[in-house]
């Protein structure tokens, strides 16, 4: 692949990011959760949203996927205004997500989770699915095949018929991702993928995030406390504090800025956030 081939579309994308958040403001009662936030996610990039607990990171994700209605601001995805749409319409446009606490269909099998994750799967209608034949059935077969492909790719195939609640936490996390991938998203929102994952598995997770990004051309926006993961995968970092953007840019630089260190650790301590991760691991576990 020539350099020209790569730069031309990238420049086009630079003019129009895949996701563009402008002036986003969210209030919960008297609390200002997110204040006048601007955020751009380019197609194909990995952006990490970091910040201390309560900084408004999950709220930003919830605004993008449609669970929280902002007081002001606008969000555009692939040129479309998202705020007018409900959560399921946004998912159908290609925004997949995982949840901090999983929100998996715990009493169902891994395969069933993926089938439901394929929201277009329901296009032929819930009621039509009651019929013994017709378009719903052939759609079912396609959905199943695709789900098995995703499971094979994530090495979850042996667990296809296991009930999710019976799986260990690490695998459940992966099921959450698989379910999001089943919807064939362009943008994947990951809420703390490394929380509850053992230190040994963190490197593998970082490797996987990069692989999804490279092989699927998937744009990733992730919230992450684990600075090792952030440094390993993110091309850009956006630091939030009290709902405001504190810093943004290349991870190696941004995470060493004094203001960022202070937000994470308080005024007087001279500690690197890279060493702080054990604390947040404890908090997450």
């Amino acid at each position: 692949m020539s350099a020209e081939w790569q730069t031309a579309p990238q420049e086009a994308r630079r003019r129009r990011p895949l996701l563009e958040v402008q002036g986003l403001t969210v209030r919960f009662g008297g609390l200002l959760a997110v204040a006048d936030l601007d955020l751009r996610v380019e197609e194909g990039e990995i952006l990490a949203l970091v910040g201390p607990n309560g900084a408004g990171k999950t709220t930003v994700l919830n605004c993008i996927s449609g669970f929280v209605r902002p007081a002001a601001g606008c969000i555009h995805f692939a040129g479309r205004d998202l705020l007018a749409l409900g959560p399921e319409r946004r998912a159908a446009l290609g925004i997949g997500r995982t949840f901090q606490n999983g929100q998996l269909f715990a009493s169902m099998t891994v395969l069933e989770n993926l089938l439901i994750g394929r929201h277009t799967y329901l296009r032929a209608g819930l009621l039509q699915g009651l019929l013994p034949c017709g378009p719903a059935k052939s759609e079912d077969a396609r959905a199943r095949q695709r789900a098995h492909e995703i499971l094979a790719w994530l090495e979850l195939e042996p667990y296809a018929d296991c009930v999710v609640a019976a799986l260990p936490a690490g695998l459940q996390k992966l099921v959450g991702v698989a379910r999001a991938l089943a919807g064939e998203p362009r943008l994947l929102l990951l809420d703390e993928p490394a929380a509850g994952v053992s230190l040994r598995e963190v490197a593998a997770l970082a490797e996987q995030l990069r692989r999804w990004n490279a092989e699927l051309g998937l744009t990733l926006l992730l919230i992450e406390h684990n600075m090792e993961v952030v440094q390993a995968v993110a091309q850009r970092v956006c630091v939030l504090n009290y709902g405001r953007k504190l810093a943004e840019g290349e991870p190696g630089r941004v995470l060493r800025e004094p203001a960022v260190l202070e937000a994470y650790l308080g005024r007087d301590e001279e500690v690197n956030p890279l060493q702080e991760q054990e604390v947040s691991d404890h908090a997450a576990g």
């Binding site: 449609g66 399921e88 329901l122 079912d140």
Partner: protein
């Protein structure tokens, strides 16, 4: 031996009725987070409707039954839209208390519409007085139909929940409302259908119970509901199989206790009294909950899902 088999058989019948009610209770609780104390009143309302059809315009039994089941679906939809939906975001305790009010409203409406149901009346069915005999075992026709209905309903329900998209969507909604909504499942429609389905189950249970005891009034489901609730909680309140098993267990316990206690007395206290039986069941229930707070089959912690 034969006496014990006979008791186990009727225990199974009673138990399957409790199980059916427990199933509806758990279905609603799991998907909409409503601990539905109006479930018995729902069943009684439909049964009263059937009674009125049978005695007023003197409709034949089967068409009247069909109309009543349709009425049950309608009632379920009405209660969901008019009662459960506005309360959707309310705390779980608020919703539970509200169902007590709903039960009173339903009972009052039934009494106002059909005052004859204020006192016990005879509930006529074509099955009355017929019985089946297997060797020495005796099974009334109603009891036989109850077992048959229960088995068929469980099979159909299981196939529906496991094999159809709609069933899968219902289970998904019960597991995670947020994720279900994100995946494009029309959760509003699911809530409506769950209430309609649960109302249908309540109606079937109510009508079978009425046919069994042949006498009903507006409150005839109240004592039954209490035992069904015990069954649901024993089953862990979060799984459908648990509800059926829990209900069956309560029914069996009730009948076995009746056999054991009949004819015995403790001083002036007649132990054969049904009240004693129920007291023992409740005491055993409390003891079980102390030992296993999540019920006999409940795995996960109780939560609103």
């Amino acid at each position: 031996m034969l006496a014990l088999l006979q008791v186990l058989l009727s225990g199974l019948v009673t138990g399957s009725l409790y199980g059916l009610l427990a199933l509806g209770i758990v279905l609603i609780y799991r998907t909409t987070g409503v601990l539905n104390f109006a479930y018995g009143a729902l069943a009684a309302t439909v049964t009263s409707f059937l009674y009125v059809l049978l005695t007023g315009p003197r409709l034949p039994f089967w068409p009247a039954l069909l109309l009543s089941l349709l009425f049950a679906l309608l009632l379920g939809a009405l209660v969901e839209r008019g009662f459960a939906r506005p309360l959707l975001a309310a705390p779980i305790l608020t919703k539970a208390i509200a169902t007590l009010a709903l039960a009173l409203v339903l009972q009052t409406v039934v009494q106002a519409l059909w005052p004859q149901l204020t006192s016990p009346v005879h509930f006529p069915t074509p099955f009355e007085g017929h019985a089946l005999h297997f060797g020495g075992l005796y099974l009334s026709l109603v009891d036989g139909l109850t077992l048959l209905t229960m088995v068929l309903l469980l099979i159909v329900l299981q196939l529906f929940l496991l094999r159809t998209r709609l069933g899968m969507a219902m289970r998904a909604t019960a597991d995670s409302l947020e994720a279900a909504r994100l995946m494009g499942i029309p959760v509003g429609l699911i809530f409506l259908l769950v209430w309609m389905l649960a109302s249908l189950l309540a109606a079937v249970a109510g009508i079978l119970i009425a046919a069994r005891q042949t006498v009903i009034d507006v409150q005839f489901m109240d004592p039954v509901l209490l035992l069904a609730f015990i069954g649901a909680v024993l089953g862990g309140l979060d799984r459908l199989e648990g509800a059926v098993l829990g209900g069956a267990l309560v029914g069996l316990a009730e009948n076995v206790l009746a056999l054991l206690l009949a004819g015995h007395s403790l001083g002036a206290l007649d132990l054969g009294n049904p009240g004693i039986r129920e007291a023992l069941i409740f005491a055993g229930f409390v003891l079980l909950l102390l030992l296993r707070p999540r019920g006999l089959f409940g795995g996960a912690a109780l939560r609103r899902v």
